[in-house]
Symmetry: C2
Subunit: 686 residues, 2 copies
């Protein structure tokens, strides 16, 4: 039967011009081979099919004309200027709006409070006050703890919970975000600035660099927003953030061993090996078990309240109040039992009162100004990444859109003003934003309420915090860490994209065993390496015809797609055919053609169709490679047909005279058109 | 009339399910609006068209099923291992060949001379001898000149024209390439090694580093070949090479001012500013006009003979012999006139005889071994780039293919052996290969003839070269430079691809005003920056239907493509939807949708079709962005349809449950299918 089929195939090879004709013929031939139709009917039917596709051919050549005569694509400088216009400039006011309103609109854009403030109602205010008070009760102990993590006196944490939230309330557009110091940024600052100045040796110089870095952070953030460079924070991919946050959480947790064990001397390094080494060394010297007992009991208490809060959503205020309650209770215990005389470390230094101006402390001329700018850049990106991720996820729950660039401007100004008023870098906190949301906040007014509450406690209650044990601060920070380790997200990344998981692991282990910067560098490096690698070694695929259609697709992915005799179709799966991949693609295609030649015994390939649908751009090396490919194919007696070259590609092929070399008759609008023409050629050469 | 059309459009909006139906309906509606068909005929025709496309819908849903149930794509490690297999391993022997022949085939693969040597004939030998002698006459003066450029004694240039060509003759597969020292590599070596050791202060140490670098160069080249890393040389794009060669030629030319002006002291830097500064300074001190007169007259002589050779191709031997003739004549003149006593600088040091072993001079423990390895890496890439470009262009003229990886192994071994026998880095020379080809060489035997001729002159005639003036060597090098400055190629690059021209200029000015390494770094940096930039900000396009077909294409490139009412179609023109571009693309699509909403007054968009034909891969950030896009569109009452997600994309969408979120009914095999389904939906909702 195979023989019969082959013979009839040879006989009728000339009877089709077009793909439709071909598939129909193939069907008829199969029927003939199976013996279901008699020979004379077969011949008659083939005759009928023949010739009724002249219209198709005419349409195809018309389309090829459109392709070849399409206007020039925009020049690179036009693309550049439109891209700059699109990203850098402020979006122009809509045309329909009256001129007079523009300044008002501009102000409303800069200060969203002017817009929503006019519709603000008493019921909303009630909810905001409740949320703000809950927020403050969580914020005060956390701020003190994070200041401790940043190796600053506790009042700086509280300052940072006063000024930045107020500025953000005026300029920000998120309704739920809770502004203040956060764990990761505090770690970043202490880890990187400790390398420049030891805070134990020269706390004043350390503080000056902290403020300078905060100023740089704010400036970078505001500039990113003003120049609409929001895409910069995208360079930290989701996977990198998950890995980085997980690693940072473990590093922060290890740092808390100092407070939890009541150690006096500790390493300034952040990597696991150094920290564990320091702990082991300290355990052999002197440590105070009372600190550990105190810290652990309150940690268990806080975690228990959180468990209760999760089981019953209405009791959300219990975990929110637990840290403040722990602070008050433990302070009372220490005060009453005089435990500080038995080795329990306490806060001691706590300057109350309003925060002072720190304008004179900014330092732009010292030896560390370059380093400070670098740290400011890293902090600005990390802080923005966290804040915008938090803001966006809650905005999408409530169903409104958050403009990343506007948020950046707001964050930038709040940090600039913060750096002038004794605050360190603030951003949106994951854990407190969730509490704010659960507590039913309506607008950013809850931040104002929180700021005022913190301010009042700064004025009135700071003296009471003298006896607060450091172990409690450590346990409060520790209790906030599990939220940063997102095992589920890591598992999902593993499931979806193995290479992304490598990025995640790179960031995680980089932070854990190297340093914060190394973790970030590794993650960004692997991420961009992936992009370059996929450009250097792009995939290519052999296409086959999907029966009954003029669709061509990957023969491996769709086993039902059939190859056409005498025609090889290849698709280049790369957005650019350039120096880095042109030779690789050329050689792979030639290898495939050679393989195909071996497979097809009779005659081999006559036409090689190159589907360039995916190739958006080509450079001179790509043009050279195509020229070479054409030459080498012709020398083997194979015609090269180019299907669907895109706008930039066809225009460059025209300029480089490649169209003339290949022959404009061999350039087609689609693979189907190219196949039709090849079959036609085959018929004519029969 | 516009009104009539609108009304009838509204009336018949529900009458089509499929694209064919739609386009036919549109045609009919136009005819009706023009008044060419009466109202009742119009209604009847619409009725007839309706419903005859149930089969189309069934086929489309069948295709969507194929898409959703396609097998899993190969896992990353499978891709990795197959890619390693493809690139790293030696291609396995063909199955059909008998086992016994394999060692023979392997040896023939390693030493091609075993293959063609058996069919070598006397007529071929005659041609090869003629070509080899012509080559030697050009090679001797050039080798001495390039050794001078590399700041080595002249005999090392001649050594390098003996050993490497012999090794290459055994292992190489190019028939035309002429092996020996070349200008650019000589410049590279002297420029980079002079920074480590000053050749005037410690020539022995300089020589040791030269041999060590040559050894590293050979080792890297052989390893690249053995591990099939041929693609590494592609990282220097065509544009980068054109710019680099042009810049290097000018730098080499400027270096010749030392010999041409007879200067004793000269800068070791290579950038234009330093060199011109040194020349101006030297002109104020002491220089000998006789050198200049001698050098310039012979330069004019050589260039004149070249002009003659170009006009009459048969006289090719005149320009080939001119340098040797110049050397002999000028040496005689100096010897007879005793011009060396009047300031004409002469070669003087010229050790004749066979080259000695330099095994003991290789230095792998010194302080410069790391630097030597780095220089070796750069040299290996530059040397391979030049050799393979030369070899390939002549192979393609003669119509045979050159295996880049095999060539690399041959070049590697010839340099390793060279470094052990007092040779410095050799590669294929542009100018001499052209002479070899024009002189009618048949095989690589011409290289053997050349090597033997050079060897004989080393043994017999070196003493005669004592009085050769240095100015002549300078003029011989200068005369070879115009071939390196390819203004035509630069102009073509400018015409075809403006960004590539920037790469070219970067390399050119980098070499000219910085140094050789800076030029290379700038060129490679810009080249890869281009790839990353196009991934960060990929283009996106709005698609319209090409009348009368089910093809959808860019509405800007093809103005005849029409948008469909109520349906927006976007195509992402990026090979990957990843962290770096996912948010950018999401925001741009949302902006377009918002613009479209404003344009279409009635109802606006109902379905947004995302054509993912070009997106080969997606990462977790990309999946997130699609989820967000879907959410935001749904909140605006718009359905998201995904057309033609590729293999990796659909499999990741399935794993990430994105298919369930979007709904498997909204994922289509092609844009045409998606449009059909959308029109169907529209009809049902009417």
């Amino acid at each position: 039967m195979g023989l019969v089929f082959k013979v009839s195939c040879k006989e009728s090879f000339c009877n089709y011009h077009s793909l439709t004709g071909f598939t129909q013929t193939l069907q008829k031939m199969k029927e003939r081979a199976m013996g279901t139709i008699p020979a004379d009917t077969f011949a008659l039917e083939l005759k009928q099919m023949d010739g009724h596709d002249a219209a198709t051919t005419a349409a195809a050549s018309e389309r090829a004309k459109w392709l070849l005569s399409s206007p020039n694509p925009p020049a690179p400088w036009q693309e550049l200027s439109s891209s700059i216009k699109e990203t850098v400039c402020f979006p122009a006011a809509k045309n329909g709006q009256p001129q007079a309103n523009r300044p008002v609109l501009f102000l409303q854009g800069l200060f969203p409070i002017l817009k929503w403030g006019r519709n603000y109602k008493a019921t909303k205010f009630k909810n905001d006050v409740m949320a703000g008070l809950t927020l403050a009760s969580l914020c005060i102990p956390q701020s003190i703890g994070y200041a401790n993590l940043a190796k600053l006196d506790p009042q700086y944490g509280l300052y940072t919970s006063v000024v930045p939230p107020l500025i953000y309330a005026l300029m920000g557009s998120s309704r739920e975000i809770a502004i203040g110091p956060v764990a990761v940024v505090s770690l970043l600052l202490s880890a990187m600035i400790s390398k420049l100045v030891d805070p134990n040796v020269d706390p004043a110089a350390y503080l000056r660099i902290i403020f300078t870095v905060t100023f740089f952070t704010g400036t970078f953030q505001a500039l990113f927003g003003l120049f609409r460079l929001g895409f910069l924070i995208d360079f930290l991919s989701h996977a990198a953030i998950v890995g980085f946050m997980g690693g940072a959480a473990i590093v922060i947790g290890l740092q808390q061993l100092k407070g939890l064990l009541g150690l006096t001397h500790f390493t300034t390094k952040t990597d696991v090996v150094s920290v564990l080494g320091a702990v082991v060394k300290a355990l052999h010297e002197e440590w105070y078990p009372l600190n550990f007992v105190l810290g652990c009991s309150f940690l268990i208490f806080i975690l228990t309240t959180r468990f209760i809060g999760r089981r019953n959503k209405k009791l959300f205020w219990i975990p929110a109040m637990a840290p403040l309650f722990s602070v008050i209770l433990s302070t009372l215990i220490v005060y009453l039992t005089k435990a500080d005389r038995h080795g329990v470390k306490i806060v001691k230094h706590f300057k109350g009162g309003l925060n002072l101006s720190s304008v004179h402390q900014l330092n732009f001329g010292g030896p560390y100004v370059g380093e400070a700018a670098k740290i400011g850049l890293i902090c600005s990106l990390i802080a923005l990444t966290e804040a915008i991720a938090v803001g966006r996820s809650f905005a999408s729950i409530k169903g409104y859109h958050l403009d990343g660039n506007k948020e950046m401007v707001a964050m930038g100004f709040m940090n600039i003003v913060g750096s002038l008023t004794s605050c360190y870098t603030a951003t949106g906190s994951f854990s407190r934003t969730a509490v704010n949301f659960t507590a039913g906040c309506e607008t950013v007014v809850s931040n104002i309420v929180m700021a005022i509450t913190v301010l009042i406690s700064l004025l009135l209650f700071t003296r009471l915090l003298y006896y607060t044990p450091l172990a409690i601060l450590a346990s409060i920070i520790l209790s906030a860490l599990p939220g940063l380790i997102d095992v589920n997200a890591a598992y999902n990344i593993w499931k979806v994209d193995k290479l992304d998981f490598v990025v995640c692991l790179g960031a995680f282990f980089g932070v854990l065993f190297g340093s914060v910067e190394i973790g970030l560098l590794v993650a960004v490096g692997i991420s961009f390496g992936k992009i370059i690698l996929s450009s250097i070694k792009p995939s290519t695929e052999v296409l086959g015809n999907l029966p009954g259609t003029d669709i061509f697709c990957n023969t491996v992915q769709y086993p039902m797609a059939t190859k056409l005799p005498g025609i090889s179709i290849f698709r280049i799966n790369s957005a650019t055919l350039c120096f880095a991949n042109a030779n690789f693609i050329r050689e792979r295609i030639l290898k495939w053609v050679a393989d195909d030649m071996e497979e097809t015994t009779k005659g081999g390939i006559r036409v090689m169709i190159l589907d360039m649908t995916n190739v958006m751009n080509i450079d001179t090396s790509g043009i050279h490679a195509m020229e070479e490919l054409h030459k080498e194919l012709i020398s083997q007696g194979i015609e090269l047909a180019v299907a669907n070259p895109r706008w930039q590609v066809i225009s460059k092929m025209k300029v480089a005279k490649l169209v003339d070399k290949i022959g404009s008759g061999w350039i087609f609008f689609s693979v189907a058109d190219a196949v039709d023409a090849s079959l036609h050629l085959k018929m004519n050469s029969c």
